[in-house]
Subunit: 421 residues, 2 copies
């Protein structure tokens, strides 16, 4: 089965915005055995939208759009599709009540323009929006299915998962996409590929993709197959062999993020974490606390951007900063040990470095970062020389700090026996 | 003048890859006065490519593609376009010599398949590739211009800048895109639109777009015009009127982010900021320190996720947490005043709340957030009831905290006179 995706929105034709909904939609459609054969971005113009849907319906059985369902004059997807399919738009009382209700719930009065969102083409099925006011729409025309989804990613994603997936699953054939992955921390893409290429080339039926972000590599293995058992077996074998070849840098086989894996390990060992971070500016804390329930193992962080705060809040000796510099191995260790002592955490992490663009010197160029980890075992410390701009240096430093916490727990039962340290 | 962009490549129809070349191309085309009216992603199939070009040439004067010019069997853009335009493909000796030369330069022998890259449609102009082997191609057909560029961004970008831009500049009219914007903090999209719709509808020649993120709205005004002075004048007038209608919630007229504006205000007033944040988990600090040079005004943050840290690091009285709860107006105030006292910052911000998904109660549901700001004036405090998932609640809370810092400086000279507080 073939699908096309249409992203509606003039802003998506500017240099400022990219349609990213299509990645989510493609992943979910593939799993249902539906191949995406074309993606189109069109403006908010009624004619452009109508033409894009007309052409797409000539080629594909399923056409899914995102955007253009909001309350404003610019939101014309409903109108364009109704006209194309020759359906009248009618005010749907039940949808209108839902929208009014949602506004009331937040103590606001519905603006008149929001009524537009309650206009529904004849014969359409309404797809409930649990995260916003614009409902989605499911229309059938002959053998074709047209699905109109809202543009905001969190609304689109929730709607697809709760309203669209089950309806599509009833229509789709037995050939499905089967998928496994590996996530790898702090290993260069070329090294990952060098280690696993001899393995994955022996699985020509599997499509292997290596995606690289700074300090974070994803390896995806995919097979289209009607035989789920055989496909899973092959994928599992390949995933295991590749994971062995990469070694301890593999942090996840199920798509968990590094901060989720760190959280899981901390929970498992009934351990707690506290951080004193300078150049990462709160990014480590922010990533750890993205995970729901992180208050069970994360005590907190001191973002000690000034030297004063390093001294006052984390007990870094002033003369150590004076003699070694704020960006030094010694200060990283003092930060890690200081925050651990102050908070009573099982593990204390300390990070100090130069994110740039300014602040570098010949001896300590931009990208110099020291990370220390204090725990039940002797404090360990790493000196990094990271490349890239400010954002990239900060991201990589946070990534390696989190990976050091993960690896802390790889070290065997002697450590675990220390429990809460 | 109108252009369409076609990205060729089956990998761009998987969940892993996004066409980003179109952003670069759009920015450069817009500056030349060329509007991008559609973007399409197609597979490597000969038919799909040919159809996409055929349709695009029906609509737009310029069609630019990326990808499908490499040496492998999958690279079919040359073939597809030659067939569509009825041009024979011929081996071009000069291109072939260039490719052979490039291989020799890197000490490698040219593989036979690379000859494919030297096949040029009759009548095409060759666009030199300074960073790779695949040359680009410029074809004209009647009034239409077809430009085939390689897929790798660094090859495409260099080729566009050195080979394409000058050729297009000769063809394009004086009409250019002119642009202004407003950024608005913490006002719902519908309210922004209600306030400015009566204004922008009186400027039918201006294309107005309202882009909404949680707690952050962008309003873009664009005119295509050959008269730069008149266009700028109209845009400025509209921008001013819209800004007046929205009021103090407008934080930027030049595209600066909220954290950049906050940084600018702090610098301007020689003030410093310190934060004690709980539910935002470091996000406020992380956003403030995204800005290069933020160490000049940002002292740091205590991410006091545990009650213990609120007490020990920010001097929140333990009995206050016991009597009012960690998520309360009183604790927010204690956090703001405590971090200000501890660090000596001009402004101390305190944030405490329930980001969810768990932790809510009937009295304090998920999304309840208290933010306090302590400075030279009496401490102010806001109670928020935010909606959405964990990420959204955190983002909005950080947004409003930053906006409160910005508004602190809107309050007139009496405050400013207090200087460093």
């Amino acid at each position: 089965m073939k699908a096309e995706i249409i992203a509606v929105g003039s802003e998506l034709l500017t240099p400022d915005r990219l349609d990213t909904n299509s990645l989510f939609l493609t992943a979910h459609l593939n799993r249902l055995g539906i191949e995406v054969v074309r993606k189109t971005v069109v403006s908010d113009s009624l004619d452009d939208i109508r033409n894009a849907f007309r052409e797409a319906l000539d080629r594909a059985e399923i056409v899914i759009s995102s955007g253009g369902l909001g309350p404003t004059q610019d939101d014309r997807t409903r109108d364009a599709v109704s006209r194309l399919l020759g359906r009248r738009l009618e005010l749907n009382d039940s949808v209108l009540r839902d929208i009014e209700q949602r506004f009331r719930q937040f103590g606001r009065k519905m603006a008149e323009i929001n009524k537009r969102q309650a206009m529904v083409p004849e014969g359409a099925t309404i797809l409930e929006n649990s995260r916003g006011t614009a409902p989605g729409l499911w229309l059938e025309s002959g053998e074709r299915i047209v699905i109109l989804l809202p543009g905001p990613p969190r609304e689109l994603q929730a709607m697809f998962e709760t309203e669209v997936e089950k309806r599509l699953a009833r229509r789709t054939p037995a050939v499905r996409l089967h998928h496994r992955q590996l996530r790898v921390a702090a290993m260069p893409e070329s090294e990952v590929d060098q280690r696993i290429a001899p393995i994955y080339t022996a699985y020509p039926e599997v499509e292997t993709t290596v995606l690289a972000a700074p300090g974070d590599i994803e390896v995806h293995f995919r097979i289209w197959s009607a035989d789920a058992v055989a496909a899973d077996h092959r994928l599992e074998e390949l995933q295991q062999r590749a994971a062995l070849a990469i070694g301890a840098s593999v942090y996840s086989k199920d798509g968990q993020t590094l901060e989720e894996v760190v959280g899981r390990e901390l929970m498992l060992h009934q351990a707690t974490l506290a951080v004193a971070e300078s150049c990462t500016g709160g990014l480590v804390a922010e990533r750890v606390t993205r995970v729901a329930g992180s208050s069970a193992y994360f005590l907190g962080s001191v973002v000690c951007y000034s030297n004063e705060l390093k001294i006052v809040m984390v007990d870094v000796p002033a003369d150590l900063i004076a003699s070694r510099g704020a960006v030094s191995s010694e200060v990283a260790v003092a930060l890690a040990e200081g925050i651990r002592r102050r908070t009573g955490a099982t593990i204390g992490a300390g990070i100090t470095g130069i994110a740039g663009p300014s602040g570098g010197t010949p001896e300590k160029p931009v990208g110099t970062v020291h990370i220390a980890l204090a725990g039940a075992t002797p404090t360990r410390e790493r000196e990094l020389h990271l490349t890239g701009d400010r954002e990239r240096v900060r991201w990589q430093a946070a990534q390696i700090a989190l990976d050091m916490v993960r690896r802390y727990f790889l070290e065997g039962p002697s450590l675990r026996a220390n429990g809460k340290g």
